[in-house]
């Protein structure tokens, strides 16, 4: 029955829990994020398109896809064309390694946590390349800021990921989730509260959200490294950010909150997954409303002064507790 397995695998990748499901979820979370952010700011947010405005992100995406795609004469054409596509595909690749419906992900192998860290670095580098290839003053500054910012958040994030890996004794995200749901295990956030906080802050920077929206700071450098992108390319970049949001929330849920498993049996994994990731998305949206934007020098020095030592302290404490 090889062809049945092949069809099943293809459907898993394309439909559920693959690309179509992920894109739908990403657009839904964008709506949740916008509505919650608007409520905190005493506004309404999207309310007209679809029930409660839930279709607004889809409408925005379709609108951008249909718009004219302008390629300025001075841009580095191959780079400029490749960046949005690479961004989207890399993010989707990373998402296949996040457990969504059950303890194990679509794709998993020993060491996929390291691979995810690698992809997250690549995304930051692509932002820099996108800005550089645009050959626009604002884009160049935005791209440089994106690269500088990644120097700030990547190290504390990677160090914090060690915590759950030590506890589960594995470098695979799926294995870490399995360990947390097994009888011997418990949610790793119990011993890693500091690591959880650091990862939230680091992902705020990865997602270029306030207070770390420095690479696209609207009032300073227009749209940062995205300034020259328009039409389809911009649509793909925007979609990437939405997918990155579920990547971030899914990864945090998997590493610290037990992923798509829960204490009550019979409730399917996907429900747990959505509950947990929604909580994380709401945390992100809440933080977004609370702060003003940092300057790039403040962000990088703050990260090395506070986040990196705290992440190391967390690992030391964890080692002492587990001994």
């Amino acid at each position: 029955m090889a062809w049945e397995v092949a069809v099943y695998n293809l459907l898993s990748v394309l439909v559920y829990p693959g690309i179509i499901f992920l894109v739908a979820l990403a657009l839904f979370y964008q709506w949740v994020d916008r509505r919650f952010f608007a409520k905190l700011q005493n506004r309404y947010g999207p309310i007209y398109t679809g029930p409660g405005g839930v279709l607004q992100p889809l409408a925005d995406l379709i609108k951008l896809l249909a718009k004219e795609d302008i390629e300025p004469a001075a841009v580095d054409k191959p780079l400029f064309k490749a960046v949005p596509i690479l961004l989207l595909t890399l993010t989707l690749t990373a998402l296949f390694m996040i457990p969504i419906t059950g303890p194990s992900a679509l794709v998993w192998f020993e060491g996929d946590l390291i691979f995810i860290i690698f992809i997250l670095s690549l995304i930051a580098i692509l932002a820099f390349l996108g800005g550089w290839g645009s050959t626009n003053m604002f884009s160049t500054i935005g791209g440089m800021r994106a690269a500088l910012q990644s120097l700030g958040y990547e190290v504390p994030m990677a160090v914090s990921f060690i915590g759950p890996a030590i506890m589960a004794g594995s470098l695979s995200i799926s294995k870490i989730v399995e360990w947390q749901s097994s009888t011997a295990g418990y949610w790793t956030i119990l011993l890693n509260p500091l690591g959880f906080g650091i990862v939230i802050v680091a992902f705020l920077a990865e997602l270029e959200r306030i207070p770390f929206d420095i690479p696209e700071a609207e009032t300073e450098i227009v749209a940062g490294w995205q300034t020259e992108f328009s039409g389809r390319k911009l649509a793909l970049i925007r979609l990437t950010f939405d997918l990155e949001l579920i990547l971030a929330s899914g990864l945090i849920a998997a590493l610290y909150l037990g992923g798509p498993t829960g204490p009550i049996p019979l409730i399917p994994g996907i429900v747990w997954y959505i509950i947990k990731t929604l909580i994380i998305v709401l945390i992100f949206a809440n933080l977004r409303a609370l702060f003003a934007r940092f300057r790039i020098d403040q962000m990088v020095s703050g990260s090395w002064k506070y986040l990196v030592p705290l992440a190391i302290v967390q690992i030391v404490i964890l080692e002492l507790l587990l001994r």
Partner: protein
């Protein structure tokens, strides 16, 4: 310009500036090395237009210089023409003018606090202060019939009297706003992300502020106690007690605190004026023709000292009308504030003077090499355009 620097244009179209002005900023990485300011994108020929209109029409033209300080400009104009006519305005009208001018200051400063939040990426503050600003806009609509460009003043008084209901409504609104401003005043100095972006940014030393002729909150935030309302009182300010708020921080944070302090003072002034509103008429009739003469009048607009000059020639139209809006006086200090700072600090340092471009624009040519300065008349412009297109 050395090889390590490159130039970033801020404006004429830029999200940080809602109005078209151009700053050519030379940067070395994230550091600002040099700033060149170019004005003139929204020159509207206002001063010339005054010469073609009679004094009453000018009253409505003058408040269109600026949508936010409409009252300040109109008050300055009315004071100017009344001085030339030798008319004394009824006391009640003076008080009503003071009340509306202070409401406008509250509106302008709340707007500014929100914009400052937006410039450093904190839109939540923007949404909150602009919601509270609606209260004061509604009060102005109640008192004058319009949210902006109120057209409150007439030459010789005000157009509309305040009824007892209006007075009670306005004091109710003032109580609400006082609560809100107290909240902002306690929250802003404690909010660390704001302070991180505002303290030590856009430094303007007191001696520089004086040398570069800074005005208004920008000057007062450098610790210099100068306010037209106190130094050269007009309307009812000579009878109303108030403090001139200053701060010696010389940076953006100081400018925020000065404006928040002024919000309290404005609420105090408006309340005092409402309580001590004298009875009597609100307007006297004035002749149409203004006797020949010259006069300069000063008004403390929300953004600083507003200067109007009028030369009359005995007819119903001015021979020359000249406006020096506060933003023009503050431009020179902007370059000093930006130099040596970060690119990220440009928007907030620029916003800290509360710029109003269209108030400012002039058609003056300056040849830096020979230090020559000249103006173009409409004829010169026409000749230039014919030559330009004819080539």
């Amino acid at each position: 310009m050395s090889e390590t620097t490159f130039t970033v244009p801020v404006g004429p179209q830029h999200p940080a500036l809602k109005e078209p002005e151009n700053l050519m900023i030379s940067v070395d990485g994230e550091r600002v090395v040099d700033v060149k300011i170019r004005l003139g994108y929204v020159h509207r020929g206002g001063e010339k237009a005054f010469e073609a209109r009679n004094y009453t029409q000018g009253l409505y033209l003058v408040e269109r210089i600026c949508g936010i300080c409409a009252m300040a400009h109109q008050l300055c104009y009315a004071n100017n023409i009344e001085a030339l006519l030798g008319v004394t305005v009824p006391r009640r009208a003076d008080y009503i003018r003071t009340i509306i001018a202070e409401l406008e200051r509250i509106h302008s400063h709340l707007l500014w606090v929100g914009v400052a939040g937006h410039e450093i990426g904190w839109d939540t503050l923007f949404m909150y202060t602009w919601r509270d600003r609606e209260v004061v806009l509604d009060l102005m609509e109640l008192a004058t019939g319009n949210r902006v460009t109120h057209a409150t003043n007439a030459i010789g008084g005000v157009r509309r009297d305040l009824t007892p209901e209006m007075i009670s409504q306005i004091s109710k609104g003032m109580r609400h706003l006082e609560e809100r401003v107290k909240y902002y005043a306690s929250m802003i100095p404690k909010e660390r992300t704001i302070m991180k972006r505002a303290v030590g940014v856009g430094i303007l030393k007191p001696q520089d502020a004086v040398a570069l002729c800074a005005v208004g909150p920008t000057l007062r935030a450098s610790g210099i106690k100068r306010d037209v309302r106190r130094d050269d009182p007009y309307s009812a300010y000579d009878e109303i007690p108030f403090e001139v708020v200053t701060h010696d921080g010389c940076d953006v944070a100081a400018r925020v605190m000065v404006r928040v302090g002024e919000l309290f003072e404005s609420i105090k002034i408006a309340n005092y004026a409402l309580e001590h509103l004298p009875s009597g008429p609100v307007r006297v009739r004035v002749p149409i023709n203004v006797p020949a003469g010259e006069n300069v009048s000063l008004v403390e607009a929300p953004r600083g000292e507003d200067i109007h000059y009028c030369k009359s020639n005995g007819t119903d139209k001015p021979e020359r009308y000249k406006v020096r809006a506060p933003t023009l006086a503050n431009w020179a200090s902007v370059a000093t504030m930006l130099k040596g700072g970060y690119v990220a600090d440009i928007p907030i340092a620029l916003a800290a003077i509360d710029p109003c471009m269209s108030c400012t624009d002039r058609m003056t040519f300056t040849d830096v090499s020979s230090n020559k300065m000249w103006h173009w008349t409409i004829e010169d412009l026409r000749r230039h355009s014919a030559k330009w297109h004819g080539k």
